[in-house]
């Protein structure tokens, strides 16, 4: 892999964001609204509940981490969609740029934009609602990494789906995190799920993160093997998503889909 082509993908996204307030706003507006909304909800729950549970730490912390995962996933797919929207496939893929360089560029772009989102969320949640985000200590690192990795995997998968099914399928991309959220156990423990949903939850890396986070905040410690399981799953999904993207790309080159990419290419 060469660095300059990867830098090209990142620079392009930087130009787009710099030149368009419409692209800047989503980087922090929706996450900020989420934090404000859930900040007040958790503050209210703390005031009326006698359970002793700190809702700010459990619920608001979970919202923050879930929003981060969503931003990472959408960061990858949005950077890809920029090429769809500007009909740039022919210009882009007729260059020496390799698929691994292209995908790496998308991923790094997403990491940069989602980090901005994370900083905005922290800047609101810590001083305004008293979220003790760093109380999780060093465990934050694996928690964040697992969510980053799964977000990247889902973003690559979503991009491959759009490449295969055509631009109109971008409407399948946006609800993906929402579809996964009931199984990811963001707000409730895995134990409350029926068996079939629990089986699905075990396949999702975020469920290990949120279970672990709740356990640590409740003073119960962390199951490292379980967290390792989540991490391995996230890495496995990145590999599978990368292979899926490469496979779809090869199909697109073989079938002529890439050269004639338009809104009506579903076949």
């Amino acid at each position: 892999m060469k660095l300059r082509p990867i830098a090209g993908i990142i620079v392009r996204q930087f130009y787009l964001i710099r030149g368009s307030p419409v692209r800047v706003l989503p980087m922090f507006a929706w996450v900020a609204i989420d934090i404000v909304l859930w900040g007040f909800i958790t503050r209210y729950l703390n005031s009326v509940s006698a359970s002793g549970i700190n809702f700010v730490a459990t619920l608001l912390g979970a919202v923050l981490l879930w929003d981060l995962f969503t931003r990472v996933m959408q960061g990858v797919s949005t950077a890809f969609l920029e090429d769809v929207w500007s009909r740039n496939f022919l210009n882009l893929f007729a260059t020496p740029l390799s698929i691994s360089e292209y995908v790496t560029g998308l991923v790094l772009t997403s990491l940069a934009t989602s980090t901005v989102g994370l900083l905005v969320m922290l800047a609101l949640a810590i001083p305004v609602f008293g979220l003790a985000f760093f109380a999780l200590g060093m465990l934050l690192i694996p928690f964040l990494l697992v969510l980053f990795c799964f977000g990247i995997a889902l973003g690559i998968f979503a991009s491959a789906l759009v490449l295969r099914l055509g631009p109109a399928s971008e409407w399948l991309v946006w609800p993906m995190p929402a579809l996964l959220s009931p199984f990811a156990c963001v707000f409730y423990p895995l134990a409350v799920l029926p068996p079939w949903m629990r089986a699905a939850a075990y396949l999702l890396p975020p469920s290990y993160v949120f279970e672990g986070m709740r356990s640590v905040l409740a003073g119960g410690g962390l199951s490292l093997p379980r967290l390792a399981c989540g991490a391995l799953l996230a890495i496995l999904y990145i590999i599978l998503a990368g292979q899926f993207f490469a496979r779809v790309y090869r199909y697109a080159v073989r079938s002529g889909l890439l050269a004639r990419y338009s809104a009506e290419t579903v076949s």
Partner: protein
């Protein structure tokens, strides 16, 4: 069948040679039962401008897309310099570039941003100096900070040509490069392209429906119909050889009348 026009002789081995920037050998592209390109072979020397002519649907763009690696050939081989496009894609495409009416640069980036983006993708050395030089050469200086989507079609063509020249390609593919230019701008661009071939030893594959332009610019032409090369030769000599007054008349005749196939001529 009786007009005396006969098929181009099947080309012999067109393997790589330092003299040739492009070697296309026995290229076939099938979409199911449809043969979009059938057993096409040709080569382009350094400094040579070859016109690829034919009616709509003849297979010109399919050939260009396979050379650019965005469409996989069903069979046959394509070498850019000594690099096989199927096996050494990045090396082959780093020596190639293209401009086409149907592949405008992303409209949401300025001319300069587009040149920087693609310059990084092509890993162009001394990129800033190269961009400045191309802005002057193609008269884009005053438009450098204008978004490409706001340019007139003629200006967009010049911007696309600047992109196509960024990496000082050994092989340049131009699909109707002057289609949207006024006669004066088209003449300037033709002069520029001829200079590029003469002084930079760049081999150029040029498609156009303007036969006067082809006569003026091309050293050699290939007539394509139904995915096959019908004729090959000097655009200034071919009309007389085939009893027509000019290249346009020959084009119309070839496009409308069935080809006289000598026994045993290529598929």
């Amino acid at each position: 069948m009786t007009d005396g026009i006969t098929a181009a002789a099947p080309a012999g081995d067109v393997g790589s040679s330092p003299e040739y920037v492009l070697s296309v050998q026995d290229l076939c592209k099938n979409y199911g039962e449809l043969a979009a390109v059938a057993h096409v072979s040709f080569r382009i020397r350094r400094g040579e401008i070859v016109g690829l002519l034919g009616p709509n649907g003849a297979g010109k763009t399919t050939i260009i897309n396979t050379i650019l690696g965005v469409l996989a050939a069903s069979s046959g081989a394509i070498r850019i310099g000594r690099y096989d496009i199927a096996r050494e894609r990045s090396l082959a495409l780093s020596r190639t570039n293209f401009a086409a009416v149907y592949a405008a640069l992303p409209g949401n980036l300025t001319v300069r941003q587009n040149l920087r983006f693609f310059g990084l993708i092509y890993a162009v050395r001394d990129l800033d100096a190269r961009i400045e030089s191309l802005l002057d050469e193609l008269g884009l200086r005053a438009l450098s900070d204008t978004k490409c989507g706001l340019l007139s079609s003629g200006e967009q063509t010049r911007a696309a040509l600047a992109k196509a020249l960024l990496n000082s390609p050994e092989l340049l593919l131009l699909d109707e490069p002057t289609a949207s230019l006024d006669p004066s701008a088209a003449q300037i661009i033709r002069g520029h392209i001829r200079e590029l071939a003469q002084h930079d030893d760049c081999g150029i594959l040029w498609t156009s429906h303007n036969m006067y332009e082809v006569e003026e610019v091309c050293n050699r032409v290939l007539f394509l119909s139904h995915g096959k090369v019908l004729l090959e030769g000097d655009p200034r000599g071919l009309p007389q050889e085939h009893g027509t007054h000019n290249l346009e008349e020959l084009f119309i005749r070839l496009a409308r009348e069935p080809l006289a196939q000598p026994a045993g001529a290529g598929a």
